[in-house]
């Protein structure tokens, strides 16, 4: 097979972090290659070097057998390489046409009508649907992705790199995208897909290359690959999803959510009429394609979303879960805290919401407790002790408790955050994508922590994306679809297919509460 791109001994570091170490990789002409690896394994960094976003510290890149230096995205385009980034590179206030015309070679005459005509031809060829006058800020995620692909094709790219293209798509949109990718292969183009989803790898690609912790592990033909083989290559050892799941001990009701609806500032109804209960001593999983209201649901309960009138979240504090309930809605997080509602929340955006990146562990411990007491001055002592304790107990790797947490690795950041949240002795613990981007060992450490809380009688709410984990960890699984509760199933008996179906297909009548 002829190589479209050949990487030889590529190394790239950021400060003291090694993102890629001595990676060699071939991309053939006319193939679909999956680049598989866990979050943080250096997939995106590696391909960013081909796209001209980063420049390697050492190593060589060959395009069509010739050594090249790719110093900028422009160099990449001239070599026929186009990358569709996970975070779309589009200008919000520009129309689709303007975005396509952006940065085109100055040789041809500037004529937006011509650009549009040519782009329309591409649309017809691959069966895209695009309103070329629409401004990007008014587009849906999948429309933006389509626009990105048109943009790259317009520039005549022969090698397309897609970074986690399906992360934001519905299954139908994913299938449509895969069809487009196959069409492109039939057209003789090389396509590289960065992903960590095994089933997609098996569904679409010709070959799979695997990275682990920044290093190249190997490449297999997809037809010879199995899920277990790929997993093993990806994580280093065969993973038994062997998560502990103790039987809940006399569960008592801790949270009662009724008629909860949220409309986004853009006027989109992101949550419709949510009803469910969470019990102490249970882990309630929340499944769903990302962007179906999970974030808003947890934020609404935590007091971070404006909720439509009529919705209520009742919190039961007493031992038996019977006594008087406290209303959570209408309070901000501090008021909730001060009202004696013991609720903890590990948000999805760890450094952007849960922690302050520029502060050390001590400062971040203060985030939830700084306002306690009447004094004007901060109590620095107890947060410092707490930081020391968490560092020790959860084995946080950090140069010191005053090192800014943004300098820690993803796993350690999450340990700091989860550690703080459970230190409060919560009655309800909500976590959003608690293991996203973490390595296997840290993930298991997190599952253990959640189970410990469960045994203590805490109502744990676990929003996750990995169905295998949800089915192994949770006692109940609630599935969100289009902002509605699309069913609640028993975690011990439900099948993956059952949950998968609930994630993608809205049931008749919306809420079905078992």
């Amino acid at each position: 097979m002829e190589c479209a791109i050949s990487l030889k001994h590529i190394t790239k570091t950021f400060g003291s972090v090694v993102a890629n170490k001595d990676v060699s990789l071939d991309i053939y002409k006319g193939e679909i290659l999956s680049l598989l690896g866990e979050n943080g394994s250096g997939k995106t960094t590696l391909l960013n070097m081909i796209a001209g976003i980063y420049y390697p510290d050492s190593g060589e890149v060959f395009v069509n057998g010739k050594p090249v230096e790719i110093r900028s995205p422009r160099d990449a385009y001239q070599l026929g390489i186009g990358m569709i980034h996970q975070h779309f590179k589009l200008v919000d206030v520009f129309s689709a046409t303007e975005n396509i015309a952006l940065g085109l070679d100055a040789k041809e005459k500037f004529d937006l009508k011509q650009v549009r005509k040519k782009a329309q031809e591409i649309c017809d060829k691959y069966q895209f649907d695009m309103d070329f006058d629409q401004k990007v800020y008014a587009m849906s995620v999948s429309q933006k992705q389509t626009l990105e692909i048109i943009k790259v094709l317009y520039r005549g790219a022969d090698i397309l790199i897609l970074d986690e293209p399906t992360a934001v798509l519905t299954p139908q949109e994913t299938e449509k995208l895969f069809q487009v990718i196959r069409n492109m292969r039939a057209d003789g183009k090389s396509v590289v897909i960065i992903t960590h989803k095994l089933h997609e790898v098996l569904a679409i690609s010709d070959r799979v290359s695997i990275l682990r912790k920044g290093e190249y592990v190997g490449t297999v033909e997809t037809k010879d690959a199995t899920e277990s083989l790929l997993t093993e290559m990806m994580v280093g050892k065969k993973v038994e999803l062997n998560i502990d799941r103790p039987i809940p001990q006399n569960p008592v009701k801790r949270l009662e959510i009724r008629n909860l609806s949220v409309t986004s500032p853009e006027g989109v109804r992101v949550l419709s009429d949510i009803n469910f209960d969470a019990f102490g001593g249970e882990i309630l999983g929340i499944a769903g394609v990302s962007g179906n209201g999970q974030k808003e649901l947890l934020e609404a309960i935590a007091g971070l979303q404006t909720v439509e009138s009529g919705g209520s979240v009742k919190y039961y504090n007493s031992e038996d879960g019977q006594g008087p309930a406290m209303e959570v809605i209408g309070k901000n997080p501090r008021v909730i805290r001060n009202a004696g509602i013991h609720m903890s929340f590990v948000p999805e955006d760890r450094l952007g919401m849960g922690l302050v990146g520029s502060m050390g562990m001590t400062g971040n411990m203060m985030l939830k407790s700084y306002d306690s007491g009447k004094a004007l001055f901060l109590d620095q002592k107890s947060p410092k002790n707490l930081a020391e304790r968490i560092k020790e107990e959860l084995e946080v790797v950090t140069p010191g408790i005053n090192t800014p947490v943004s300098r820690l690795s993803g796993g350690n950041v999450q340990k700091v955050l989860v550690g703080r949240e459970i230190a409060d002795a919560p009655m309800v613990l909500m976590t959003a994508y608690a293991v996203r981007g973490l390595d296997i060992n840290t993930s298991y450490a997190i599952y253990d922590l959640l189970n410990q809380q469960k045994k203590k009688g805490v109502a744990v709410i676990y929003v996750g994306e990995d169905l295998d984990v949800l089915l192994a960890l949770c006692d109940k699984i609630m599935v969100l679809c289009a902002g509605r509760v699309n069913g609640i199933v028993d975690g011990r008996t439900a099948t993956k297919e059952q949950v998968g179906l609930l994630m993608t297909k809205l049931q008749e009548g919306g809420n079905k509460n078992e």
Partner: protein, 370 residues
């Protein structure tokens, strides 16, 4: 396509992890040295004077006599006080470019109270009223842009900038009324000296120096050790985190800007009572802008601010000295200040980033023949 044989970039920029303190100091020292060399060249080519003797004369501008040193301190505390006022706002990433106006409004209220109520109120009450009104009006001047920023995210850089000129108009109007038929407004209450600060160790403005000294410590502790200071840091870092922690972001923005404006207002009060005993559109004298640079370079640490303010005042005084010694003009001060600021601002880069030159990369050149 094969003809695209670009070479590896000559120099690449890489972000530093964290520079050691020695690096911070050496880079800044080099920047100041470079600025002094540039200024020396400038002085030499423009005037033909020996730069070294010029610098010696400059030195005398601040340290020549006790009085000069005292004046330098007077001007230093003005700059420093505004820097102190800006520190909390900047730490919150709120660009308060409106200190000039906030100072003017504080000074204006002080002057009005001094003139119109000076003889009606007993001494201590008069000072209290002047103090409170100037603080209040400064706070309001800071609150207005903060309110819109908190509610609708109105761009505060441009808003506060515009507020300066609204304040200037008010002052111009008041000065016009106060001076009446006279060609200029002399010292207020010249005959009675009501409302002037008493002399402390021979100078009225020594009270200013004292107040600013205290505030330097207070602001340092406010930012570092109080709950408010913590909230300011969190809001400045990430509004989402602040909301998550239950901090009322809008409230913190407004409160902090009220404090920032209030201290500026206080500065106006001190300037009118302690330094000028009058008011004009020049009362703030550009210090509101210079202080922005001071606060920024000191990274909101009030003690560093004192150092930087000292450096700038030293230069200004020195340039004034050159002006009178060599028959130049004291605009030289602005040029010298500008050059120093450029050098220090540029030097930050070498603290935060590292350069990697092509030659420092081993074993790479072999592959470039292709």
């Amino acid at each position: 396509m094969s003809d695209l044989q670009v070479r590896e970039p000559f120099v690449r920029i890489v972000k530093r992890d964290q520079a050691p303190l020695s690096k911070h100091i050496s880079v800044r020292a080099l920047a100041i040295l470079l600025a002094l060399v540039l200024d020396a060249l400038f002085i030499f080519f423009v005037t033909g004077l020996n730069p070294f003797s010029v610098y010696f004369v400059m030195f005398k501008g601040t340290f020549g006599t006790a009085t000069r040193f005292s004046w330098a301190m007077r001007d230093l505390v003005t700059l420093l006080l505004i820097g102190i006022a800006l520190a909390p706002a900047f730490k919150m990433k709120f660009w308060n470019i409106g200190a000039e106006g906030q100072v003017l409004m504080g000074g204006l209220l002080t002057a009005l109270v001094m003139v119109y109520w000076g003889e009606k109120l007993p001494g201590p009450v008069l000072y209290l009223v002047m103090l409170l009104t100037s603080i209040a009006v400064g706070a309001i001047w800071g609150l207005i842009p903060a309110f819109f920023k908190a509610k609708w995210k109105t761009n505060e850089t441009l808003f506060t900038l515009m507020m300066n000129y609204v304040a200037t108009s008010f002052v111009a109007c008041a000065v016009n009324i106060l001076r009446g038929q006279a060609s200029s407004l002399g010292k207020l209450n010249m005959a009675t000296q009501i409302g002037w600060f008493p002399k402390l160790f021979g100078q009225r403005y020594n009270i200013n120096i004292l107040v600013v000294l205290i505030l330097t410590f207070l602001m340092f502790f406010y930012l570092k050790y109080t709950k408010h200071g913590f909230e300011i840091s969190v809001v400045g870092e990430s509004e989402n985190t602040a909301r998550y922690a239950g901090i009322n972001v809008g409230m913190v923005i407004m409160r902090t800007m009220a404090i920032s404006g209030a201290i500026c207002g206080l500065c106006g009060f001190l300037l009118v009572c302690g330094r000028d005993q009058t008011i004009s559109t020049n009362t703030a004298g550009g210090n509101g802008f210079t202080a922005i640079i001071v606060a920024w370079l000191a990274k909101f640490n009030t003690f560093y601010m004192a150092l930087i303010a000292f450096l700038l005042i030293f230069l200004q005084k020195g340039a004034g000295e050159i002006a009178s010694a060599y028959g130049l003009n004291d605009f030289a001060a602005s040029i010298i200040t500008g050059v120093i600021l450029f050098c220090i601002l540029g030097s930050e880069f070498f603290i935060n980033y590292r350069l990697i030159f092509r030659s420092s990369k081993e074993g790479k050149n072999d592959g470039e023949r292709g």
